[in-house]
Assembly symmetry: C2
Homo-oligomer: 321 residues x 2
C-alpha cells in the first residue's frame, strides 16, 4: 500500500509538495503536479483516511440514530439523508437505538471519541444533559434546550386533515395517537384535533395510546370497539390508519361509507398498495435535506435556524368520501 512518501519519492519531490498537490491546499508548479499525478497513477495511491482524520480531527462521518430502521418513515429519512451526505463525500453511520436511552448516550460518546462529526437524532427520549455545543440536530423532537430541530407543520397539517373529515360529512370524529415520552412536535397532531373539535363544538374522543411499533392492530381494535359509533378517524400515523382500516373491515364497517379515515406520514404507499390512504404527507426529502444542512452549518460554525418547519400537505386517497 503506497503512502504519500512513496508518491513524493517517485515524483522526485518532497512530501509537502505531494501533500499540497493532493489535498489542493497551497500552490504547486505545473511541472511538479504533473509528475505527482503520474506517480499517483503508477503506484495506485489513495490517501489513507484514518491518517487524514487524525490530522484533521474529523472523520467525514455523520451518524443518524433512529428508534428502528424497520419502519418506513425512518427508512425513508435514512435514505434521503444518505443521499445528501453522499453528495458531500460524507459517510453515514446508522444506529438503531431501539428506543434505548443507553444506546443513544453512546452516540454522544462517539462525538467525543472523534468517531463521528455530528448526529441526526430521532428519539423518543429526553436527553437534558446534552451539551449544547455538540453538533447535533433533531427531527420532530425537542431533545434538549438548544438542540436545533426540523419538523413538519404538524399542527396546521393535522387541522387540515380533521377539517377535511368534517367537511366530507363525518359527524363523530375520533383520534388515536401514539404517546411520546418526550415533548415532541408530534403531540401537535392530537392537539390540533382537540382544538379543532372544540372549535366546532364537537366532543373530543382522543386516545393517546402508549404502545410499541407493531401493536397498532390491537390498539385500534380496542379503540374501535370502545367507540363503535364514530364515522371519522384521524390517526396519528399511517400504521395506525392502516390498522384502523382493517379493524373496521373486520367489524363489518365499510370504508369510507361508514368510517372515513385520515392518517399521517404518507409513507405506506410504496409497500402497501392498498388501501390508498387519505393522509398528511410529510416532505421527507426536505426534512432530511434540511437536517443535513443544519448539521453542517453547526459543524462549520455557520448560522442556522433553531427550528425549521417543513410543509406537509394532505393527500386525498380512498379512505375518505
Amino acid at each position: 500500500m503506497a503512502t504519500i512518501k512513496d508518491v513524493a519519492k517517485e515524483a522526485g519531490v518532497g512530501v509537502g509538495t505531494a501533500s499540497r498537490a493532493l489535498s489542493g491546499n497551497g500552490s504547486v508548479s505545473d511541472d511538479a503536479r504533473k509528475r505527482i499525478d503520474a506517480a499517483v497513477k503508477k503506484l495506485n495511491f489513495v490517501p489513507n483516511q484514518s491518517a487524514r482524520n487524525l490530522k484533521n480531527q474529523t472523520c467525514a462521518t455523520m451518524a443518524i440514530s433512529v428508534p428502528t430502521i424497520r419502519h418506513p418513515f425512518f427508512a425513508k429519512i435514512i435514505y434521503y439523508v444518505e443521499e445528501c451526505l453522499s453528495r458531500r463525500g460524507v459517510r453515514m453511520l446508522v444506529v438503531n437505538s431501539q428506543d434505548k436511552k443507553s444506546k443513544e448516550s453512546e452516540m454522544l460518546e462517539m462525538i467525543r471519541q472523534a468517531r463521528v462529526d455530528g448526529i441526526i437524532f430521532i428519539t423518543h427520549h429526553a436527553h437534558d444533559s446534552i451539551d449544547e455545543n455538540l453538533p447535533i440536530v433533531s427531527v420532530d423532537r425537542h431533545i434538549g434546550g438548544k438542540v436545533p430541530f426540523v419538523t413538519s407543520n404538524n399542527y396546521e397539517a393535522s387541522r387540515e386533515a380533521v377539517e377535511y373529515l368534517l367537511s366530507r360529512g363525518a359527524k363523530r370524529v375520533g383520534c388515536v395517537c401514539g404517546k411520546t415520552a418526550v415533548e415532541s412536535e408530534v403531540q401537535l397532531r392530537y392537539k390540533a384535533y382537540d382544538d379543532c373539535m372544540r372549535e366546532h363544538g364537537l366532543p373530543s374522543r382522543l386516545e393517546v395510546a402508549d404502545f410499541k411499533h407493531g401493536d397498532e392492530m390491537e390498539v385500534m381494535r380496542e379503540y374501535l370497539q370502545n367507540n363503535p359509533d364514530i364515522d371519522g378517524l384521524f390517526a396519528g400515523s399511517d400504521m395506525l390508519a392502516n390498522a384502523a382500516y382493517y379493524n373496521a373491515l373486520l367489524l363489518g364497517k365499510r370504508v369510507p361509507e361508514d368510517l372515513q379515515i385520515a392518517g399521517f406520514d404518507g409513507v405506506m404507499d410504496e409497500w402497501c398498495p392498498h388501501p390508498k390512504l387519505t393522509t398528511v404527507q410529510q416532505d421527507i426529502e426536505a426534512l432530511a435535506a434540511t437536517a443535513v444542512d443544519v448539521l453542517f452549518a453547526r459543524v462549520r460554525g455557520e448560522e442556522y435556524e433553531h427550528k425549521t418547519v417543513i410543509k406537509a400537505k394532505l393527500k386525498i386517497g380512498e379512505t375518505t368520501k
Copy 2:
C-alpha cells in the same frame, strides 16, 4: 480534550502503562491501574478512535451496500447486521447503491482507503474484477469467483411453495419473478417452479419480468390479464404477491377461492397487516448473522464457508386455501 499523555501524567505513570491499562493488552499492577482509572475519570478521558485506527490499520467499521434501504427486505437485513456489528463494537456504514455499479465500485475503493474493514454486498450487478482477497461477503448473489456468500435454500423452499399450491387444489399455477442482471440464487426460485410443473406434467407459465421496485402493480396487472384462467400463483417476492392480491381483487377474483397466491421473503407482515400472505419466510436474522460471521472470519484470516445456506420455510397465510 484529554489525551492518553494527560492521563499518564495525572496518574504519575508512563504512557505505555496507561495504554496497556486502557486497551487491556499487557499486564499492569493493581496500584497503577487504580490511579489510571481515577485519572481517566477525573479528566473525562476517552480514547481517540482515529488515532487507534491509524495505529492499528483498521477502522472498526463495516459497510453494507444495498440497492435501496427503502425496501422491507433490505431494511430488515440492515437491522440485524447492525445488531451483530454493534455487539462486536463495530460500526455499520450503510450505502444505497441505487443499483448503480459506480457507487458499488466506490465501496471497493473504501477498503483501499482504509475507510472500512469489510463490506457486505447485496447487488444486482456482476463485479468480475473484485480482488478475491478483499474482505467481502455477498448475500443471495454470486458477485465474483471466490467471494463467499450466504443465501436461503431458494430452490427447496420454492418447490415447497409450489407443491403446496398444487396440494391445495390449484390446477393452473403461474409464476412471476423479477429478472436479475447477475447470476443469482434468486433465479432458483423460478427454476424450482419450472421443474416442479414439468414433473407434474403441467404447463409452465413463467414470466421473468424486468422491472424496478415500485412497478410490481403494473407487472402483475399485465400478467393476470394475459393469464386470466390461472387459479394459483407463485410470486418471486412478497411485493409481487401483494400486487397480485390487489390486482386479482380489481379483476373481480376472490383470493384464495378463485386464485391462490404464495409469495417469497416474509417481510411484508410488519408494515402491511393485510393480506396475511402465504409466503416463504426467509430467516433474515440468520442470514445477517452469518454474513457478519463470515466477514469477520475473512478479516481475521480464519476459515470460512464459501457458501452458506440458511433454511427458509413456508408460512401459511390467508392467500391459500
